[in-house]
């Protein structure tokens, strides 16, 4: 181990997250591989090591014999300070080698607030931030992950982006880079060739021109790059590689458990939900596959908990069969099975009863909107009746804590809708009084609100964001309407949401803002410990860019949107139609009742969605 590192580790919190050496890490001979890849996660070790995408891609990239893929994370503040003081560059955990020595830096960006951390990791590695400042072929710096469906704010920094699911695409890219390195290609030649790989977006091959009012006039593809980059998907998840021997961290991380990914995509089509649109079409795994992979992973990791992962667990049709199969293995071994993202219905409750015989922790419901009208407008198919039914069963079964999540600032929201939140909490409380077996233990009802952020590629992508002051007004309105003692109200601050709104629909000019925030010390901005709103305001000011233009402005239907070159498979007409239905407070059927022809099925080459 580096002597300097050895000296600082005793001074930092939880040093094991900076040392590697975990069980199942992949070690190769650095002299025998042709490409060294650093899989960079722009957040802490604890968050990154809980990420399923990282586990999968670490495995698939390392399945190439000519590649050694290692991991790098962003150090927490204390370690960051010590590394800077000691002059230690960012290093990969497996080998301890500085990232400077790597051929590829592959960033996984799941949320916009990680952008400044990406810049910081590049800097800590001693690598120039902007693609244009890295004229040589190597290192290639690229990014993927759900934030990259509008990659524009990061366009100046990255050589390329991979859009969609990376299992196959990353390896195609690395195979091409191997050839380029062996044959001594220059960087432009490699980038031009990379742009021909499905799902690869090379921002430098797209010219963006602007109108006088700051909106985009045109986006023009150059040098044979596709006009639209269609996201990649894995068509058959049962056949897709799945790591049943992931790394087992030697220190506590956020998710110390086995993840079982039921399906990708969602049949629901909630209009505010980016994930529900960009991961389409829905593709489920067979229960046999999941049971086999789940048991294998449990055996290979020694974990004592399994979680079923998906956007909406109740929509997994063979859920009963899957749980039976897993419980046969788990129950005799005291392995816990958790099912987040359940819907509020009776079936779910019976399942919960079966699973959580011992610990009755809180129930959580994402209700999102305070009135039935608003929930119809956003296509969130939850009725108050369902919710109260579920609560009744839960309270009768001994649960005594309920969390209800809402967004404020959804399109068409009125004060009446907001007051509806308080009324619903009252009815849940009333339901507890009527159904709870043992009232002595009391009940805890928690309402949480966050500020709605319009995101690219969903029906609300053109919508305005209400902004900080209006959000606070709505918070106060709700606050004064909540009177019951057993009801707690937590609201998330809107400052991060405003910045996130600007970044998620931002264009290339935001590169300057990101760099400025980072220069002023911004990193780990996804953490309230480190996020400083004024730093962002100052950066917008210094770059002479208008925050409101990016964050709160409603986009015109005739506008060229910064992410127009990215095609996630869902047609613009579908998004527009859904937006119109919102204004009429009309529900749309889910994909199982009736396909609304969003376009995503085309990616399955003749197969139907959800088969």
């Amino acid at each position: 181990m580096d002597k300097r590192l050895e000296r600082i580790l005793p001074r930092v919190q939880k040093p094991a997250r900076y040392t590697g050496g975990e069980y199942n890490q992949i070690i190769k001979d650095r002299d025998e591989v042709e490409l060294r890849v650093a899989f960079c996660f722009p957040d802490t070790y604890e968050i990154g090591m809980s990420n399923l995408g990282l586990k999968i891609l670490y495995k698939t990239m390392n399945s190439l014999p000519f590649v050694w893929c290692e991991r790098a994370f962003a150090p927490w503040g204390d370690m960051y300070g010590e590394m800077k003081k000691a002059g230690i560059p960012l290093y990969a955990l497996e080998s301890g080698d500085s990232l400077e020595a790597f051929d590829v830096l592959a960033f996984s960006i799941g949320y916009e607030m990680a952008y400044t951390t990406v810049l910081d990791m590049l800097d800590m590695a001693g690598i120039p931030l902007r693609s244009a400042e890295r004229p040589g072929l190597l290192p290639i710096v690229f990014a993927g992950g759900s934030a990259c469906v509008n990659a524009e704010p990061m366009a100046e920094f990255m050589d390329l982006f991979v859009i969609g699911e990376g299992e196959e695409m990353n390896n195609e890219l690395l195979t091409l880079l191997r050839q380029a390195k062996a044959e001594g290609w220059d960087k432009p030649r490699f980038l031009r060739a990379a742009a021909q790989i499905g799902g690869v977006y090379v921002p430098s091959l797209y010219d963006v021109e602007y109108n006088d009012d700051g909106t985009i006039r045109s986006i023009t593809a150059q040098d044979g790059a596709p006009e639209k980059v269609r996201k990649r998907i894995v068509e058959d998840l049962d056949a897709a590689p799945y790591p049943t021997d992931p790394i087992v961290p030697s220190t506590e991380v956020v998710q110390d458990k086995v993840d079982i990914e039921l399906f990708r995509g969602c049949v629901r089509g909630c209009r505010f939900c980016q994930a529900g649109h960009i991961y389409r079409p829905i593709r489920a795994k067979k229960p046999e596959t999941l049971i086999r992979q789940g048991i294998e992973t449990l055996q290979n990791t020694g974990y004592e908990d399994v979680t079923l992962l998906s956007l909406s667990t109740s929509d997994y049709r063979p859920l009963g069969a899957l749980c039976d199969g897993l419980l046969d293995y788990c129950e005799p071994r005291s392995i816990g099975l958790a099912l987040p993202s359940l819907r509020a219905d009776n079936f779910s409750m019976e399942l919960m009863e079966r699973l959580q015989r011992v610990r009755k922790t809180g129930l959580t419901f994402a209700v999102e909107g305070g009135s039935q009208r608003l929930r119809d407008a956003i296509n969130k198919n939850v009725t108050e009746k369902d919710l109260l039914n579920t609560c009744a069963i839960a309270f009768a079964g001994g649960w005594n804590s309920v969390k209800l999540y809402y967004m404020l600032g959804l399109p068409t929201e009125t004060d009446e809708d907001i007051l509806g939140i308080a009324e619903m909490a009252d009815r849940v409380l009333h339901c507890w009084r009527e159904n709870a077996k043992n009232k002595n233990r009391g009940v805890r009802i928690t309402i949480s609100t966050s500020c709605f952020i319009p995101k690219p590629h969903c029906p609300f992508q053109w919508e305005a964001q209400i902004g900080k002051e209006e959000y606070l007004r709505r918070v106060n309105l709700l606050r004064s309407a909540i009177t019951a003692r057993n009801v707690t109200y937590n609201w998330h601050d809107a400052e991060t949401s405003v910045i996130e709104s600007a970044l998620s629909r931002g264009d290339r000019r935001l590169a300057g803002v990101l760099e400025e925030v980072w220069r002023q010390g911004g990193r780990l901005d996804a953490w309230s410990d480190y996020f400083v709103f004024d730093r962002w305001l100052g950066a917008f000011e210094r770059c002479v860019l208008d925050l409101d233009f990016y964050a709160s402005r409603e986009r015109g239907l005739d506008e060229v949107l910064p992410w127009d070159m990215i095609d996630v498979g869902v047609r613009r007409q579908h998004l527009l139609r859904e937006r119109e239905r919102c204004y009429r407070s009309e529900l749309s059927p889910d994909c199982r009742k009736q396909c609304s022809g969003c376009g995503a099925a085309a990616m399955l080459h003749g197969r139907k969605c959800d088969e």
């Binding site: 040093p15 040392t19 069980y23 506590e252 020694g302 011992v358």
Partner: protein, 219 residues
Amino acid sequence: MSKLRMRFSKTGRAIWISHLDLMATMQRAFSRAGSRLKYSEGFNPRPQISIALPLSVGCASVCEIMDFQLVEEVDITSLKDRLNATMPEGIEVLEIYEPTRKNAELKWLAVEGIFEYDEREVDIIQKQLAAFFTRDAIVVEKKTKRGFGETDIRPSIREIAFSAAEKSVSVTALISAQNPTLNPELLCAALRALAPELAPDFAKFTRIETFDGEGKLFR
């Protein structure tokens, strides 16, 4: 199944795993090896494992002792191999056996340390260090449950010797393992407080061997 004892080493990158994390690591390693640890009864069952002398983060050891119980009878020789195949880097099971002695009989620990001096004459320092530790009493501040207290660590050091090496001084010592426990880091703390000119720029320790009150090997 009856109580078993494991001796293991924790070196290299594994020295940074905290005591609490080590417990979880052990539980998972057993589970991966196909042997389940026995759990305590009650609302919040925990694996029945106990580590004789918790090791501080950053300290290495080649003589750790852990007692445990398994749910099923196993062949202990193959258990050792199976465990070693599933341990994270730096943790190695040295032997597994049925214990005959109580952990309370463990009294002395042999430790080795390296005191690093970046810019000082280690030949001179080495002699001064030896002289320092011949003092009758070495009183240092020590964190106690009730805040700070003073404690004389001299009786907890049975033997100590120094030899000069490359930009560093090697230390070998026999120190009290329990009642009272002497964290070897206190040797440096004593220097910082009483003879700062001798305090090393950096120090690291390795536990080497365990002994009973009579100075015989403890197993």
